[in-house]
Amino acid sequence: MSSGEATTASAGETILRTNQLTKHFGSFIALNATSLQLTRGECLTVFGRNGAGKTTLLKIIATLIRSYTGDVYLFDQELKKAGGDIRRRIGFVSHDSFLYEDLPVLDNLIFYARLYRLDDPPGRARRTIDDMGLEAKTATPVRSLSRGMKQRLSLGRAFIHEPELLLLDEPFTGLDESAADLLDGRIARFKEGGGSLMMATHNAERGWRHADHIAVLDRGTVVYESAVSDTSFDAFHATYRDILSS
């Protein structure tokens, strides 16, 4: 959810807070004093054009980028000081699948289950395969899967360790309608189960669908933020179009 006054109204537990978060790549400013918050069980959708800083924001929260200025508090821990165990509580879905193309479906999931030190990795992997409707593809190398199936498997990978916070970076990119619907359904189930989400997308309709709070990043700066309950899709969409065309 957003920063400042809007967040103080929420009674829920804040699980993520960024304060004056700034990241430079050389002379390029990817994030400029970005302050955002996310409450447990809610979804914050961050919109913005390509290069607006959305992916950098998610990568910092996912601990993939460690050099930045400002503060990030995740699950009440200062991210720079947090140990590696905090990553067990985070799931990450990106347009990259993070899957090994030469390994079969089952072995990919067993690998990630082992990496997260889950009990009974083969059993957990098989349950995930069933959950994603990929039973017939267990022994198929990932290279031979269709884009939609790969995305399903990638979702299974992201959910296999049952994270509390799911970070989604342009998750609908390249998906056909049925795969996008499956992703929608899985996100809805995750939220119903009390999970928190932060999604970065430029797709206004899909992004809005799950959002409790929205923010728009432009050139690394938060230029718009609101609770979904305080606005309408049409009003937001008109504002978003204006920002994109500016």
Binding site: G84, I86, F92, L99, F111
Partner: protein, 221 residues
């Protein structure tokens, strides 16, 4: 950390057993190098003993670079490296898993190449075979430790295939020279190489430790 090492090792070896890409590329390259040296130089048996160790390590070094490049290329595809870095595991464990996998793949190639080398150059490798195998392990460990670190550095760049040898070869010159000198001793071409043995072991200890410690900083964006 042992669990992380075993998991990475399991994954890398499983991929290699399925594809055999690193092995086949480095094996073919090594054989080619030996064949070319064998046919372009008409060596006497004494000369073969003296120069053979050098030819052997030229083949191993360049074949090793092919295999190291492949090791991180598969992490770059579909951004699997991020998948590893997102896991709640020690990054040192990731390094050790990759390093051991790379070392094993290189050693398998080298052990298969060794009898071919003996045939091509008419060299007796049986007399001090165990010593030769120990030298192979020591030389490969040193080369592969720095190679794994630099392959991880190069993977973020556009010209990683070119960058890896440019970075790796200058810093592995000491271990390659030591490996050549000690291999020449094992083949019976040279005496008094205790300095080179010490250098091999010292290089391994220093560079395995340094690469392990530096990996976390190198792998970070």
């Amino acid at each position: 950390m042992r669990h992380t090492i075993a998991t990475i090792l399991w994954k890398d070896l499983k991929i290699e057993l399925r594809t055999k890409e690193a092995f086949s590329a480095s094996f073919v390259f090594s054989v080619l190098v030996l064949v070319i040296f064998n046919f372009t130089m008409d060596l006497t048996s004494d000369e073969a003993l003296k120069l053979g160790a050098g030819f052997l390590w030229v083949a191993f070094a360049f074949a090793g670079i092919l295999s190291l490049n492949r090791s991180f290329a598969l992490e770059k595809a579909e951004n699997c490296l991020h998948g590893l870095l997102l896991a709640p595991v020690d990054r040192g464990g990731i390094f050790l898993g990759k390093f051991i996998a790379n070392t094993l793949v290189m050693l398998v190639t080298e052990i298969i190449i060794l009898p071919l080398f003996a045939i091509f150059f008419n060299v007796d490798i049986g007399e001090r075979l165990w010593l030769l195998l120990v030298i192979l392990v020591l030389g490969t460990v040193g080369f592969s430790s720095v190679g794994t670190l630099f392959a991880a550095m190069a993977v973020h760049t556009r010209m990683r295939e070119v960058l890896l040898p440019v970075l790796l070869l200058p810093i592995t010159v000491p271990v390659l020279i030591a490996a050549v000198e000690t291999t020449a001793y094992a083949l019976g071409a040279q005496e008094g190489v205790s300095f080179w043995f010490k250098l091999l072991v010292t290089y391994d200890v220093i560079f395995v430790t340094a690469s392990f410690l530096a990996f976390e900083y190198v792998i970070q964006e």
